[in-house]
Amino acid sequence: DAGITQSPRHKVTETGTPVTLRCHQTENHRYMYWYRQDPGHGLRLIHYSYGVKDTDKGEVSDGYSVSRSKTEDFLLTLESATSSQTSVYFCAIRTGTNEKLFFGSGTQLSVL
């Protein structure tokens, strides 16, 4: 599993509240990714990081922000959660240039 831990595993929150999801890795890989998975849409890239304090947007970044203050942690924040952000969120790390991803177990987020 390449030492990836996502927390929390499940979260229920109310519309308008801030939410932060955490991805932690133990192997000091440079690249980390946040995806969301929804029925009929597959996985869509939200944000990714290519180093400490280096991040870039993905396809569906509106409403999300990220931070990477140290190599092992990549945080995804929903500043003001909306019902459309109800989804399963996956963190992934990449082990080398143009190589494969290792995924965490996911966070099921429900925004009521």
Binding site: Y33, G42, L45, Y48, E59, L101, F103
Partner: protein, 113 residues
């Protein structure tokens, strides 16, 4: 928009049969990858094929890549009930956002015992 689109969206076969899934993409790529996802779990990497390769094998998996048609296929031979899962293709662009891995919408495979 999604880089990869899988076809079919769902596939149901009997154990022992072969399963073929197809993936089409839109721009030039560095490599194409296939992943598997069991229900409620994270994705697991299956196989990677580079743009200069045409075919690759791994156990019961066979992947082909046709860059002129911007398409790939995943063949699972002699399928087993344990192969029941969703399968996704993903591409790494050769230009522009080469750090991004873009996934398709997936094929749900059901293998009946």
């Amino acid at each position: 928009s999604q880089q990869g689109e899988e076809d079919p969206q769902a596939l149901s076969i009997q154990e022992g049969e072969n399963a073929t899934m197809n993936c089409s993409y839109k721009t030039s790529i560095n490599n194409l990858q296939w992943y598997r996802q069991n229900s409620g779990r994270g994705l697991v990497h299956l196989i990677l094929i580079r743009s200069n390769e045409r075919e690759k094998h791994s156990g019961r998996l066979r992947v082909t890549l046709d860059t002129s048609k911007k398409s790939s296929s995943l063949l699972i031979t002699a399928s087993r009930a344990a192969d029941t899962a969703s399968y996704f293709c993903a591409t790494v662009p050769s230009k522009g956002a080469t750090n991004k891995l873009i996934f398709g919408t997936g094929t749900l495979l059901a293998v009946q015992p």
